[in-house]
Amino acid sequence: MMRFGEKAAFSLAIFVFAAILLYQTAGMRYDVALVPRIFGGLLLAFSGLQVLMDIFPAVERRLSFLNRKLTQQMVAAEEKEGSRDPWGTYIFFGWIAGFVFLIYLTSMLWATVIALFVYLKLINKESWILTALYCSGAALFIYWVFIVGFRLHYFL
């Protein structure tokens, strides 16, 4: 029996990264490539083992001694996370993505003000006073420290 979930996809991504890392050392001089090959090889071996354990439950059961402490930690973390609202997490990630997109569209200063306003007023439903103080404080901080202090005009 096989199972392919999020965990297997993530460990597979690490495995592919390790494989690419090792492939990149192919054209390097021996002494330069030594350390990347050692760590890349270790990463490839362990991530490959993790991929097998995530995709084949039989392998995970056979090698249960590797996962004992980790499983207890993950169960504790899952119980703690289960009590939180999952939609809140997705909304927060969406807000971060929106903030990054705003930085691309406008500038860091304006993106910060708009994103903080959206988060505090629309998502968190804070008061107008707190929202105004927070946004203006952040804008002033960016202006005085980065634009006036460090003279980084690309923040505008």
Partner: protein
């Protein structure tokens, strides 16, 4: 130091601020720092991507602390390793007293938990 002692205890109120108010500020500061280095949008994307990677690492039990230590110390370790190999060769790790002591302590620290566990298991 005097300033730290003076205002240190007064800054305790920061711990009473709710996480939902601190979180956007922390995200803003992190992305500000990433953008401030070179003014490139790609730096912001990389910072946000690593934030997402760390969420998955925490969820699936991977150590984020180990990754950060590796990122910070990895380059230094590699450069020092090449310097030692060029200057002293492989035998430099076992013939020089300080290097030998550090190597022995490292092996001891790695092996000791298993030895202790075995002793506890064997003892009635």
């Amino acid at each position: 130091m005097a300033l730290g002692l003076l205002i240190g205890t007064r800054l305790i109120f920061f711990t009473t601020i709710s996480g939902s108010l601190m979180a956007p500020g922390i995200v803003v500061l992190a992305l500000l720092g990433a953008y401030g280095v070179g003014g490139r949008f790609s730096d912001v994307v990389i910072a946000a991507s690593f934030g997402l990677i760390s969420v998955f690492m925490q969820r699936y039990g991977y150590s984020r602390v180990a990754l950060i230590i590796a990122l910070v110390l990895g380059g230094l370790v590699e450069a020092s390793y090449h310097q030692s190999m060029t200057t002293f060769g492989v035998q430099g790790f076992v013939t020089r007293p300080i290097a030998l002591t550090l190597l022995a302590l490292t092996i001891l620290v790695l092996v000791l938990p298993y030895v202790r566990k075995r002793k506890t298991a064997v003892a009635p």
